[in-house]
């Protein structure tokens, strides 16, 4: 495979300039620019991290530190769908690991791996701020699938295989259900 040349287009550079202007220092724009890079390449492998560092004129070590802190940045090429299963406290208590292991069994890979057909990657991630609907997972930094059960997971995989992204689910805490009803009536 020929070595890929990583660079931003003028348009992307303009976008980056706009982002930089929002922050007091260029270093502070690291998160956003990494994001621009990931949108473009689908990952932030070391070469892409290097590109971000050079573009912002900051140390590659710092960019690396930021990129590795967040599971949302993909430090290597991932499958078409990345299933981020939350195994943080609330989800863990509500069966997060069972969901994770079930997924692993179903897809024949372990957390941190990608299926051979390049369709799915699984990651075990920290709290995604949806503890109220635990256990949950997130699909490729996008929609959440909440209140998971094994059946729901199976369904999700099937849907994704057929190219159907789950719909965004509006969630309501149980204690608020009554109020929601009242509001919608």
């Amino acid at each position: 495979m020929a070595e890929q040349d990583y660079s931003f287009t003028q348009e992307e550079l303009d976008e980056i300039e706009r982002l930089k202007a929002k922050f007091p220092t260029d270093k502070a724009a690291t998160l956003r620019v990494l994001w621009v890079a990931q949108e473009k390449y689908g990952h932030v492998e070391p070469e892409v991290q290097q590109l971000v560092a050079e573009t912002l004129d900051i140390s590659p070590a710092h960019v690396h530190g930021v990129a590795t802190f967040y599971t949302q940045y993909y430090k290597e090429e991932m499958g078409k769908f990345v299933l981020d299963v939350c195994t943080c406290l609330s989800c863990q208590l509500c069966g997060g690991y069972e969901i994770l292991h079930h997924l692993e069994d179903e897809l024949g890979i372990k957390a941190g791996e990608t299926t051979e057909d390049g369709m799915f990657s699984i990651q075990s991630v920290e709290c995604l701020g949806a503890c109220g609907y635990a256990p949950m997972l997130q699909v490729t930094n996008g929609v959440y699938a909440n209140n998971l059960t094994k059946e729901k997971v199976d369904k999700l995989i099937e849907n994704l295989r057929n190219g159907n992204m789950p719909e965004f689910e509006s969630m309501v805490m149980r204690q608020n259900e009554k109020r929601k009803k009242a509001v919608s009536e």
């Binding site: 140390s59 590659p60 070590a61 960019v63 690396h64 530190g65 967040y70 920290e126």
Partner: protein
């Protein structure tokens, strides 16, 4: 003056000190890890927590509200505060672990947390014995742990750079090392990667930690996570003795400690001196330990047949030296002092040949333009060019030295590898009689007809004047064949020295070099020549210097010790190119 009450005792303070630093300055203690006085304060280890409150003052009158007992009413911060990041304010009341069981408990629990994934491998860890984590765990930590789950495993034996090895499992993520590269050396080479219990410091992918100051991170790492690749597993801290000294690898004169065991210098670490190097030193200076141990000139040697030197006795060396001097007029001597040698050595050396009628010794600075940075690495490669200037040695460029040699029959060189640093070549010395007084084997020593081994900075007490005109001194750290740690009160004794005997298997004679201080050798030579020359000790030589040179007036070894070196009233000289 504003006041603060710590553990029930009143202290006055000025300015806006941080609480932890203020407490430490009073000689009191609060355990901490991430705080470092010369770096920013992230307050991330949470070990330094104390209970803090401020008195309630009336908004209008500013008067303190009192309770029924007439005591000031205190409004306590709702949670314990990290003392490292708390600014002391007037009337503040503080309880440390000494007066609050709650605080002691909080600190103990924090330690229990910090230790959850720590491998507790002190028995095989280099840091043991000088490890803040180990010490504070003993003092303030829990006796055991409630965490019985498997510890998180992380990378071990990671070669971050050529000189620093990481054991990520021992790291407590205090970020001192990262902050060092960001704030002090400014290479920004380190970062903390990953998150939660999986994080540890690392370089960017493919990048090497080749910071010229990288080993300072080993010193400031409060655990054994960062270790010196070179020193790893060589000695336990408590087996070594520690002797204050000066870095001689450049002109800055960083204050250092030499760590010796059985008369080998095993490592060099920086010694704090706000006016010179703060807590830091360049990696290069640490490598100097090798030159104190290895490749030394031991026993005099002499060229008898052709180019082969062979060892000879001191008596024979003195006799030969004396005969050479007797056979030549003083005008035919080229006497060359050295910016690599101390003030006392240069002085004693110069004075001796002055007495024989020779002109002041010449010397040439050892400067590599552009070599230095604006921090602790200097263009000047020698520790004492300013010392040579101060005692009026004759400063010349390389050409001047060359010319002096050409016109001489005998060349006498003090501790300077003039051939190695290209001042002249071995051919320039053809048909001259070359005498070297030297510490290490060098091309110059190799080209010499007579070699007198002399003590290096690790073996004598002597002073050096750095590029900024600060005079600082060394102490003997290593014994020579003729000195004895037990008898020389200036030498430090480690446990092995104090409790061992000559019959213990950790004691050997091998590491003692057969050499003499320059002045002691010259005493012998002076005796033989019937010169009125007697120098007993570097301290008395220095007293003589101080009488003779106004810039050194009222300067003594005691003052250098008490004030960590003394700034001399000398002009900063433009260093000339060698």
């Amino acid at each position: 003056m504003p006041e603060v009450f710590i553990d029930g005792k009143r202290y006055e303070f000025e300015g806006k000190p941080k609480l932890l630093q203020f407490i430490l300055d009073q000689g009191l203690e609060v355990p901490f890890f991430c705080y470092h006085p010369s770096m920013s304060i992230p307050a991330n280890c949470r070990q330094c927590m104390v209970k803090v409150g401020t008195p309630i003052a009336d908004k209008d009158t500013g008067e303190y509200e009192l309770d029924e007992n007439g005591e000031r009413k205190i409004r306590w911060f709702p949670k314990f505060q990290t003392s490292c990041s708390t600014t002391v304010s007037d009337g503040m009341v503080v309880h440390t672990q000494e007066s609050s069981e709650e605080v002691a408990r909080a600190q103990k629990d924090t330690l229990e947390f910090i230790l959850i994934n720590h491998p507790l491998d002190c028995p095989i860890c280099d840091q043991a014995g000088e490890c803040p984590l180990q010490i504070q765990t003993y003092k303030y930590g829990p006796e055991g742990s409630r965490f019985e789950v498997k510890k998180v495993h992380k990378p071990k034996r990671v070669q971050l750079g050529e000189r620093v090895t990481l054991d990520a499992e021992r790291c407590i993520n205090c970020t001192r090392c990262v902050r060092f590269t960001e704030e002090i050396s400014e290479t920004n080479q380190l970062t903390i990667v990953s998150r939660g219990d999986k994080n540890y410091p690392m370089t960017a992918p493919g990048e090497e930690f080749d910071d010229p100051y990288s080993m300072n991170t080993v010193d400031i790492c409060p655990v054994g996570a960062l270790t010196s690749t070179d020193f790893r597993f060589k000695a336990r801290v408590w087996e070594m003795n520690q002797t204050p000294s000066i870095d001689i690898t450049n002109g800055k004169g960083c204050n250092v400690d030499l760590w010796t065991r059985d008369n080998l210098v095993l490592r060099i670490t920086p010694r704090q001196n706000e006016d010179v190097n703060d807590y830091w030193m360049p990696d290069e200076g640490r490598d100097a330990y090798q030159q104190f141990n290895e490749n030394r000139v031991s026993r005099p040697s002499i060229k008898l047949d052709g180019d082969n030197q062979s060892n000879t006795s001191w008596n024979n060396a003195i006799e030969t030296f004396a005969e050479v001097l007797e056979a030549h007029e003083a005008d035919n001597l080229a006497v060359i002092g050295s910016p690599h040698a101390s003030v006392e050595e240069n002085y004693a050396f110069n004075k001796f040949f002055n007495l024989l009628g020779a002109a002041n010794a010449k010397f040439t600075p050892h400067v590599i333009p552009g070599y230095g940075d604006d921090f602790l690495i200097t263009d000047d490669q020698a520790p004492n060019a300013n010392g040579c200037r101060l005692i009026n040695l004759d400063e010349s460029e390389a050409d001047g030295i060359k010319a002096a040699i050409q016109n001489a029959e005998v060349v006498i060189i003090l501790s300077d590898d003039l051939i190695g640093r290209d001042v002249f070549s071995a051919e320039d010395l053809d048909d001259k009689y070359i005498i070297s007084l030297a510490t290490n084997q060098t091309p110059t020593v190799e080209a010499s007809d007579l070699v007198i081994p002399i003590t290096c900075i690790a073996e004598h007490a002597a002073s050096y004047i750095n590029v900024d005109g600060r005079i600082q001194r060394s102490y003997p750290a290593k014994e020579t064949k003729y000195t004895n740690r037990r008898l020389n009160l200036e030498m430090s004794e480690g446990r092995l020295d104090r409790y061992g005997t000559n019959f213990d298997n950790w004691v050997s004679e091998e590491n003692k070099v057969d050499c003499l201080p320059v002045w002691e050798f010259l005493n012998h030579l002076g005796d033989r020549l019937g010169l009125a020359y007697q120098q007993d000790h570097s301290r008395t030589i220095f007293a003589e210097l101080s009488n003779q040179f106004p810039a050194l007036e009222e300067i003594t070894y005691e003052r250098m010790d008490e004030e960590q070196g003394v700034q001399l009233p000398i002009e900063q000289q433009e260093v000339t190119q060698a």
